[in-house]
Chain length 358, copies 4
């Protein structure tokens, strides 16, 4: 096996470049995975722009599809050559956070076993997946074998956006017969829409303004799609619900405007399920919040990871209940990833997700 690999590295804020890096060694609890397909996430763009800080020289990316190349001595039940994925969030499974079910807030190296967003390691605190190879930590907890018959692109959304979007629906506790609003129909918002439908929502109202996203929104489950350039989405949702408001409002962008709109369309007793990564303080308007007397809930979700989560999501794909391959609008070689970032960060050409192949 060769000793070095190509990897997309954050050289400095504003600059991601392909560099040569050594292929990592495998510790007792690790696995080495050869990447066959990966993709770019909105969070990677934040990193590129310097809005979310990571170490210079880090390999970016957290959405791996690939093949097991090498297994640590303590990792059992897998074989070299198996096709696998791992979640964007790689919990150890063994910290205090994990052992009370907070797998994304995993802090094995901390005094208390808790670390905010600590489960997110790929392309954040360790080298990521936009490379020829990636080292999977705590491989026993994180390698999920891809069922026969599923293509790379069919499972490419499982590691992050499908897991995140579905979590918006799940943690919003959507029930059969619920009316749900989803603000923003980028990749995660679209997955939230698909997740809301899977959970039994019977009226799903989505909001965006990009034609391709609005069209895809209908495709994955929206019953009504509001173009916020044409009308006020809060007014329209209240009209569509005859003044009742929605049972669950999902925020899938990360802005004050969408967060606030969620509250304004929420029925008393409803749940705001927040998926966005915010970049400034948020304001809760007193009136929409009924001064704190509305029995409202606000829940936030970081992408659930771990191999069982991945297994379930691939079950969804296998079942045919949901098909997310139409979200792959573009294909690039890893060597051309700088160009792919440029396209993706400027949302040109109706881009939703870009499949990157080394």
């Amino acid at each position: 096996m060769k000793k070095t690999m190509k990897a997309a590295v954050l050289v400095e804020p504003g600059r991601i470049e392909i560099e040569d890096k050594p292929i990592p060694d495998v510790g007792p609890n690790d696995a080495l995975m050869r990447i066959t397909t990966t993709t770019i996430c909105g969070t990677d763009v934040h990193i590129l722009k310097g809005e979310y800080p990571v170490a210079k020289g880090l390999t970016i990316g957290h959405e791996p599809v690939g093949v097991i190349v090498k297994l640590g001595a303590q990792v059992t039940g897998y074989e070299v050559g198996q096709r696998v994925i791992a979640g964007a969030i790689c919990p150890s499974g063994q910290s205090n956070a994990c052992l009370e079910g907070l797998w994304s807030q995993d802090g094995p190296g901390t005094r208390h076993g808790l670390k905010p967003a600590g489960g997110w390691r790929f392309g954040n605190t360790i080298d990521g997946t936009q490379a020829e190879y990636v080292l999977v930590p705590d491989a026993q907890a994180n390698l999920a074998v891809v069922p026969d018959g599923l293509t790379d692109e069919q499972v490419l959304m499982c590691p992050d956006i499908m897991s995140t979007g579905f979590a918006g629906a799940e943690n919003g506790n959507i029930r059969i017969g619920d009316t749900v609003a989803v603000f923003a129909q980028g990749p995660i918002g679209l997955c939230a829409t698909a997740g809301a439908k899977l959970k039994g929502a019977t009226t799903i109202i989505t909001v965006d303004a990009v034609a391709e996203r609005m069209s895809m929104s209908s495709h994955v489950g929206a019953d009504a799609v509001i173009n916020f350039h044409s009308m006020d989405p809060v007014e329209e949702i209240m009209r569509l619900t005859n003044g009742r408001g929605v049972d669950v409002a999902i925020e899938a962008l990360g802005t004050q405007a969408t967060f606030e709109a969620c509250l304004r369309v929420l029925k008393p007793g409803g749940t705001l399920s927040s998926l966005g990564v915010y970049s400034e303080n948020l304001t809760i308007p007193l009136d929409a919040f009924v001064a704190g007397l509305g029995d409202h809930k606000i829940v936030t979700s970081l992408c659930p990871g771990g191999k069982e989560r991945m297994r379930r999501l691939m079950e969804v794909i296998s079942s045919g209940r949901v098909d997310l391959t139409p979200l792959v609008t573009h294909h690039y070689k890893l060597d051309d990833i700088v160009e792919a970032y440029d396209l993706f960060s400027h949302q040109r050409d109706g881009v939703l997700k870009i499949a990157i192949t080394p």
Copy 2:
């Protein structure tokens, strides 16, 4: 029976006075209750000050202990002369909101059966309890018989502050072994502290600065009481928890400062349980919110009502697990209620709750 009664009426913002009013008629689903003890709530002070608007001429108060005087023709299973209480929130039990479990957001007269805080009627949308008599609507759902052997003052907190405070602990989903912070130890905060202990919290840290409240806080269950005049409560809570933060933070005042402090001491994955009635927009600080990635929950609770809730709370009192009579620091006659409002609204003389007797 006489035809008129004395009642504490909002004459205009700033002025509550005792007036004569007709004793109300009883409809088929109502009951007439003779008040034997009632009390003043912080919300009543908001009403007095004009900060929370109600109709001029309305009788104020929502915490009734008394005796059944007359029963509507459709109300069964009760007898005239029984000692009863009713919750501050009087759900109809029959609206869409009630039938999905949102009893406090009851909107029987609305198109959708939902109304923000609609279950709160006494002293808000109908005449209240600071009077010689009060009409209990939907009596079948709201009259709760006081068990033999309990005094008026033992059950006086059930209709509102005990129900509200306990809801803070319940909706925060406190588990055995949790560490809990409660910000503000007024009557509701003290009940939240008692509720947290009842739910199995093993470290309860409370925050206030009034000596009598701090002392009472220890009495009802606090393991540590922080005087926010002497030290920064956020720093101190992080120190006491070795940097871990709390599982559940309960807001029991209704201000930006306490709301924000709750977020700042909350562990990743923790729950902010909000009880306060706010009077301005709230800000969620980005850092404490981990940009939305902390798997945090924010839940708000309006006082749960209905006769089953009251039955349970009186069970707690009967069991001796909790004794809230020390919260009754003062006694006034209904005729002197103006004076009582003055004492209470200025928090003079270590006042916590005032028992008012007609």
Copy 3:
């Protein structure tokens, strides 16, 4: 308006006949409904056979679709002439049971407000719906207006089998990606299958032996349908799940064989969701129960009722997510109901549900 109506009455065990009865008077909290369509339930057959005792002379049936003819003086927000349904279970909304969310175990006339299955009144403790008219008790809590555009047959399943079947999926706490088994594909089992799919189950395995039911099972959502005459369903389910077992097993018949089979296919930590009405003691086999160490759950559900439940179910129908009209395999006039009972109780001619029209 005429004074008498036709009604299907239990004359004695073994004999249901059409009789003339007075059209009932309307009390302050009642509504009188003219039945436009109703149907026969498996429970009615139990009553006919004397296996479930009700008073002689009682009108049978608990699945009403009709029109409001008269409203009690205290019932508000409705109009005579509106098309409505009411659930098989008619909670008062005002008993202790209802006020803690146990609407089906409603016992308003009891000392404690709890009564086993007390919410089931139509055709059980009061006159039922297989008649020209039916009196709806606690109408405020139970009348659900049929949305424009839905036919009688589209909403005919809402009062009982759809509510019951869906409850099997809901109370089994089915999650996205779950594997679910449903034993028996009669009307309720079929609705459980549809409900499991709505909740996000991705592998649904059903068991029956009647060709029409097996075919309908695929139609409403089963991924695999096992004919228990051709193979052992427990073995086959374990084979299909690679020995893992199912996350949730739904019992929809009411026999020892199906109850036990549910346990035998249940994964450790799984939930048996029981819908059947049993007629003998049940046995839990020690091995399948892992001697009590399997973290198993067994939950039973009585059909949820009340107008909010009906509203939600009609939302599901309106949304087009589920279409249960194919379950209506036969049509009879009320006058011919004796013949309909004969067909239904002998499961002749592929019968699933019979629409009865006065």
Copy 4:
């Protein structure tokens, strides 16, 4: 360090003896613990009697208190010499079962990651704790440091009976104000009683017939203790609850009689929380089960393990909310464990738990 140690070994059914065994080697993810105190569990007696089969030659026992002697190379955050406990159940944290929260049903070596009761390893599938040393597998997930100031005997119940008994209360979902019955007041039943009180139950009725246990039951929280030799416990509980029945009934013995009694005292909508290890099929009586229409739940719990669970339980001890040291009625040296088994299995001399020290 010496090479061999003494260990209590199952020689054959009926015979546990002290033998010399090699002190185990430490793999990368293990830790070696020197036992300072351990105890005998009812399950060990089942093993002794041959009622629960384990391999001949296995060291018995699953309740360790001790000191870290050696740490595997991959285990971080601990130091040799630290006082620690580990739960009776040692989850890997990394199987599919663990990663969906079923830590006790851990099956890392299985195809699906699920194994009935697979998390129970000590004295079941690997050498146990009634020895001078024990090897702790997946040490990162299982070593819980004992807080300063707690004695061995204060934390001796955490690994099994406290965790199990509390789980009975937790999984029964006991709420503030609940009435709870606990059948059998052996060590686990007593912990269930303490757990019920911690969760906010306000009426706790327990059943036993051994004087010492009945006395201890009152001490840990029972409001009423029924001697089943003196009266029928079902009748008495129904009398004490005025015919309402209990919200939650906890089975803590493992027999048909207690299981059935739980169902007979359960209110409609109530939960039977089962902790017993059964040795024969169970029967669910049709009448008590309301033919399946009572909205009842039956939940079973295997002792929760993992270091976070242990941390929480030790928090409870530290807080002083619960003191279980009075359950230690006897002390024996490891060398005399045969005698201790004899005393314990015959329940002589009011024995509850025996502290065993090497």
